[in-house]
Symmetry: C2
Subunit: 194 residues, 2 copies
């Protein structure tokens, strides 16, 4: 068993254990027991409980990002690409929040204690947006003197549709129309230039 033990297997089981015991109670020993290995085997991959929690948080955040990266270079024009990317992010976050609220709540605790991982996740999002804004400037669709600053503004202006603090607003009947109104305003602003 121990020879098949990969970091990915440990992380999958850690998520199960977190779901079952909650973020306050879950321990490395619980994870090892669920895997049928010694806790030393787990520590060989993740030297501390904090390292394990950080890695499982990163995996959770990366999953929301999966699929977004390829939208950055989709063959549509940059305004449409921006819309699609923002809609995919909103959809991914909403699916996680509404599809499995208990696991979502669990990960809010982990996210709060792993600010470094969150900062890297946000930076990756802003990198994606910067690339879309840049390609819009190149194609003549967008105007901005500072694509990164503008991309960050787009990310901040859509916080209501990706920041977990707003999850309770994601299920209302107006959520999609309200999202669309914000994105349309931002795309219009990108066309003129801020």
């Amino acid at each position: 068993m121990a020879e098949a033990l990969t970091a990915e297997t440990i992380l999958g089981t850690t998520e199960d254990v977190l779901r079952r015991f909650g973020p306050a109670k879950a321990t490395v020993v619980d994870v090892a027991r669920a895997l049928g290995v010694s806790h030393g085997s787990v520590y060989r991959h993740f030297p501390t409980k904090a390292a394990l929690r950080e890695a499982v948080t990163q995996r959770w955040l990366d999953r929301a990002h999966a699929g977004l990266a390829e939208l950055v270079t989709a063959p549509t024009d940059p305004p449409q690409r921006l819309r699609d990317w923002l809609a995919a992010l909103f959809e991914a976050k909403r699916r996680k929040a509404l599809g499995d609220p208990e696991l979502f709540a669990t990960f809010q605790v982990l996210v709060a204690e792993n600010s470094r991982v969150v900062a890297a996740h946000v930076a990756a999002m802003v990198d994606d947006l910067t690339e879309i804004v840049r390609s819009g400037v190149d194609s003549g669709h967008f105007t901005t003197a500072d694509p990164r600053r503008t991309a960050r503004a787009v990310f901040h202006a859509t916080a209501r549709y990706h920041d977990p603090a707003h999850a309770s607003d994601w299920s209302g009947p107006d959520a999609d129309d309200a999202f669309d109104a914000v994105v349309s305003l931002l795309v219009a602003g990108l066309r003129t230039g801020a």
Copy 2:
């Protein structure tokens, strides 16, 4: 003493009592004791504890709004008026959050339990923004087919700068520049039309 007892006096004292005892422990009896009156005197103005808590929440939210209403009809052009209104809201919220973090945290509890009052507060904000957007359409500065929908989008797109869930982002060294980038993008979007 009892004859001088106004609703405003009671609400001011309720805020002090909330600050001192915290939102979980503060009672109507505590408020009456602090005022030197019977609790019946308090109940004459506010028939239940819930009514008192609702009223004190409303007063707290109204205070953030004070001063904003007159900016709606300021003699500057609508784009500048929009910037000034949004900056004043951000400043008011930030002052409350950073100037008295304990009272701010207390009111987050009250805000969470008084969703009707919060909804009315948000509606008043969106009304202000709608009026500015409309006057911008009239003056030819802004383009939109639906001023209210667009005003709501402006409110949602600036959530990071007025929603208390984001208070931890308000003190960073980049906060003002990030705010400015968002507002500039929105004003540009309003010029073109979404």
